[in-house]
């Protein structure tokens, strides 16, 4: 019988939540890597038993863990993330040049075709690639050495490369997003990159529609239409129908267009989800009501989804990598909160229930749909 495996990264370890296709009874295992920050855990689409995890702390640095048995056992993989050549500088908060310094891996993106291939998005912003299951890492330095790189500046959370999307139609096409440099695209497998931020407007910038400098929080796509992108920017929900060449705002009737997470329904490419957050200084939902908003028109017209979610006194956040969908016939939608809850809807968002309620702050949620 089909089922799901939900991979949860938290501030104090990782957890694995499993269920059958009904998604009403759950088995919880963890914490894995207890006490460590686990920014991201993601499985290979080719071999679901292969899972990668990013494990780090301010004390002991970065490790990469790999499981080859669906998360039952783990082995440390390689943790040498050396920038290619002399890394140079980017802008610091005060505008002075600051050397590129590796801090941690924010996001791991296993290949769509080869279980040994995986990309890693890191802070300070750069993209690394492994072709041997995470043992060795090589920087795809064309991104960091882009002519605008020296002007990139960190956001409050650090200068992180947090989003990696590989086109299922053309693996040479990769999208990434960096806070707070913006979105970039390569069409040659990572050798050369160009900013794709035309149409973004950010009031915090001296030039509101600058080529780079936008605080992109997350981008999502549907695998059947990899040139249609949906973006949750710091403020504004955006859409591109031309692989990021241009963007239009689709925030529409959202109660707040600030937020972090955004995702696309597994079977309906025009159905998208966001979780509005009040503001950049008030990282909690408007009115203390935890509401997922769904648009079935690819934006602009949004409906609140509230059944089973707290509608009073709720002041948690939902971070950028903390929403995911499964691909069962009735699409499951999942998200985790900084209050340690992981919610599931087994019916595309109509009804929600908590899987767990008291984990450490959730940093990421990914779902594997198992045959």
């Amino acid at each position: 019988m089909s089922g799901v495996r939900v991979l949860v990264g938290t501030k104090k370890g990782a957890f694995i939540l499993t269920s059958d296709g009904k998604r009403d009874k759950w088995e919880v295992s963890g914490p894995l890597f207890g006490g460590w920050e686990v920014y991201h855990v993601k499985g290979s689409p080719v071999d679901p038993n292969r899972i990668f995890a990013s494990q780090s702390t301010g004390w002991f640095g970065q490790l990469i863990q790999r499981s080859d048995d669906g998360g039952t056992t783990w082995q440390p993989a390689g943790n040498q993330f050396n920038y290619d050549g002399v890394p140079g500088t980017h802008q610091w908060y005060d505008g002075t040049p600051h050397p590129w310094e590796f801090a941690r891996v924010w996001h791991l993106e296993p290949s769509l075709t080869n279980p040994d291939d995986v990309l890693a998005g890191v802070e300070d912003a750069a993209l690394f690639q492994s072709t041997d299951g995470g043992e060795n890492w090589r920087e795809l330095s064309g991104l960091r050495t882009h002519s605008t790189g020296s002007s990139w500046q960190p956001g409050a959370g650090g200068m992180c490369l947090h989003t990696i999307l590989v086109s299922p139609e053309n693996p040479q096409r990769i999208y990434v997003a960096i806070s707070s440099a913006g979105a970039f695209r390569t069409d040659d497998g990572g050798e050369s990159w160009r900013p794709i931020n035309h149409g973004l407007h950010s009031e915090g910038l001296p030039d509101e529609d600058a080529e780079v400098g936008h605080c992109v929080h997350r981008i999502a796509l549907h695998p059947s239409r990899p040139d249609v992108l949906f973006m949750q920017k710091h403020w504004d929900v955006m859409r591109s129908d031309d692989a990021g060449d241009s963007w239009v705002e689709v925030s529409g009737n959202l109660p707040s267009d600030f937020g972090f997470a955004i995702d696309v329904h597994a079977h309906e490419p025009e159905t998208i989800y966001v979780v509005p957050i009040l503001s950049d200084s008030q990282h909690y939902p408007p009115e203390g009501k935890l509401r997922v908003y769904r648009s079935r028109q690819g934006g602009n017209e949004w409906e609140p989804l509230t059944k089973g979610l707290p509608q009073s006194n709720c002041y948690v956040d939902v971070l950028r990598d903390a929403m995911a969908v499964d691909s069962l016939d009735s699409c499951g939608v999942y998200f985790g909160t900084t209050g340690g809850q992981v919610y599931v809807s087994a019916d595309s968002g109509d009804n929600w229930e908590p899987i767990v309620s008291d984990l450490p702050a959730v940093l990421s949620v990914e779902v594997q749909t198992l045959a």
Binding site: W59, F60, Q80, F81, Y83, E101, F102
Partner: protein, 98 residues
């Protein structure tokens, strides 16, 4: 052989309990001890020293013989009591809380 005490998280990573016994060749220094530690337990590579700079991580300290040796030169000789196994070499994770 010398004795090394690791912080709890590094013991977990290395799958060890109690003190670690290490064979160190050549001069006994912070550098040679950590080199030997990483050679015996590859999972610890990069957890004590930054892989890029080889500098001690900011929240790691080195103690021995009731002294904080963290700011000694990495290649300075360690106390004779460590070499003779009378005292262990401590790798400490800085305390934090709140």
């Amino acid at each position: 052989m010398i004795r090394v005490v690791l912080p709890a998280h590094l013991k977990t990573l290395a799958h060890v309990q109690g003190e670690v016994e290490l064979e160190v060749t050549g001069a006994l220094t912070q550098t040679s001890v950590i080199d030997a530690l990483e050679a015996k337990y590859p999972v610890l590579y990069g957890t004590i020293r930054d892989p890029a700079t080889q500098k001690r991580r900011p929240f790691i300290r080195f103690y021995a013989c009731e002294e904080d040796l963290s700011h000694e030169a990495p290649d300075a000789p360690l106390p004779e009591a460590v070499a003779s196994r009378t005292e262990p070499f401590f790798v400490i994770g800085a305390m934090a809380g709140g």
